[in-house]
Amino acid sequence: MDGRERVNRMFARRDHDRVPRFDQPWKETLARWQKEGFKGDSKAFLDWIEADFQFLGHLIRPAIYKEDPALIKEDFFNPGQFQKIREDELTHDLRDPFGATVRLWKNKSGTPEHLGFECDSSKVWHQHFKPRLMANGIQINLAKVKVDYANSRRAGLWCLLAGVETFEYLRAMIGDEVALMAMVEEPEWIEDISRTLTDLQLMNFEAALETGIEPDGLWMFGDMAYNHSTVCSPQMYKELIWPDHNRLADWAHRHDMKFIYHTDGNINNVLNLYIEAGFDCLQPLEAKAGMDIRKLCPIYGDRLAFMGNINAQLMGTNDVDALEEEIATKFAAGKAARNYTFHSDHSVPPQVSWQTYQKIMRLVDKYGRY
């Protein structure tokens, strides 16, 4: 059974040989593992865990400052062009493709510090940003999508297009504070950003399909929650952003694709809205935020697939006994619902030794067989 068939069967809740797999170590984690004996890069890592999924092209995120194809990097999540504003020994301040100034570490991973946003009002949005976004048009790298698609089909992998959705885009373009306050005070502005972004995303995805590819899924990335809860109320989400989430899921279904949604945080209060929007799968289900598939699978397992939930903080303790309990019990819940894919509950941090991760994968082998 190849990865594509395995994942398709998982989505259909039909018998499959083992739990599908995917995961993502930080670049520092990979560097540590290379010192500890792992040979290869991030691609080699996915081969080694026998990952069943493959992204096509880069993460699609319509940019204000159009990305120069010559400057597109091989980093899936950060393919774009940045303009350097300042630097010191450890950090640099960059203007990103969304007109935000961010401070990033030069040589390590981490969430950026947002220093400022060019788009700080609905006036700037309507006068400058929206017209420029619309004019920039198609930004997907179609040549890379086609090559990746051919490779994924040869390898028998379940392949997907991917992009950022409204919450992530708001954070990147106008910042959390302005965006969240505008949800209360200027909801029509937020709706307009969401609608415009979603139109552009769909235009890019349509362009990808016109090359003749037939992806298996659409994966949208956006963080709409944190440890405590969702950032806004379910009602506000339903009114402002949900209609565009619904459009993305409907578009995917019209093209025989499944819809996967990534968000960190505690999303227990919006699971029914996700089902109503047509989401097929949620990832990564942060354990530290209170997400637990042992509770979710019996209730939602027939309507939602789950990818993740293996506690990355617990991985970082390198406590193999505790990890065995974590994997055994969560895999049991996921296998009972036949809706589960292995993934850490976020990404694998550098506290996890290569020896520990090898043991984790042995446990995934042991408990992941049907």
Binding site: G110, M181, H228
Partner: protein, 212 residues
């Protein structure tokens, strides 16, 4: 509804125009500034209470904090004149190695809303800078924030350096996505807050029993 109740309501609704208008009106009829301040703090306390039980969410909390901030800007000169000081002085910052600032900013807003004098050191702050700020500003409490599991250990270093250079007088509390009460206990911090509203309650509970 009297003027102070209207002011409290304006804060709860995050209506900054009404909040500023009511504050000015209350001052114009010579209401005691402490009464006006108390109405503002009552409004923000209610916001914190409802946030903790998910009756309201971050957007509503942000607009309430902004209304509070704008009212305080009107009221502050009068409070200074009357010799009324903020309830507590607090220093806040994200620990060295961590550039994340959203959680820290939310806590800072809620502390200001509770009438704390807040000194925000920013992000990526070394233990030595925290200790220096404690010596300079003599705060009642220091809040340390970290988003990443990789930067959590710097919280312990920061607690150690603050204790070593300034003694045990200042309370140190921690928060952030990967942080727990167990971790706070492990590194010798005085407390852990799970969210911005709880950070207000935590400071009050830690400091209320101390002799002034």
């Amino acid at each position: 509804m009297n003027l102070l109740q209207s002011l409290e309501e304006a804060i709860k609704k995050g209506n900054r125009d009404d909040a500023v208008k009511n504050t000015k009106e209350a001052l114009s009829i010579n209401m005691p500034p402490k009464d006006i301040l108390d109405a503002l703090v009552r409004g923000m306390d209610d916001i914190g209470r409802r946030f903790k039980i998910n009756e309201i969410f971050v957007p509503e909390m942000l607009i309430a904090a902004r209304a509070m901030k704008e009212s305080i800007a009107v009221l502050e000169p009068i409070l200074v004149e009357a010799g009324i000081k903020p309830e507590y002085t607090a220093i806040i910052g994200t620990v060295q190695g961590d550039l994340h600032d959203i959680g820290k900013n939310l806590v800072g807003m809620m502390w200001k809303g509770a009438n704390f004098n807040v000194i925000d050191l920013g992000s990526n702050i070394s233990p030595e800078k925290f200790a220096e700020a404690v010596l300079t500003h003599k705060p009642d409490v220091v809040g340390l924030s970290a988003l990443l599991t990789t930067t959590m250990p710097m919280m312990k270093n920061t607690v150690d350096v603050i204790r070593e250079k300034t003694g045990n007088a200042v309370k140190i509390i921690i928060g952030g996505a990967p942080v727990t009460q167990d971790y706070a206990d492990e590194i010798g911090a005085d407390g852990y807050a799970a969210d911005a509203a709880s950070a207000v309650d935590l400071v009050r509970s830690l400091l209320v029993s101390l002799p002034g």
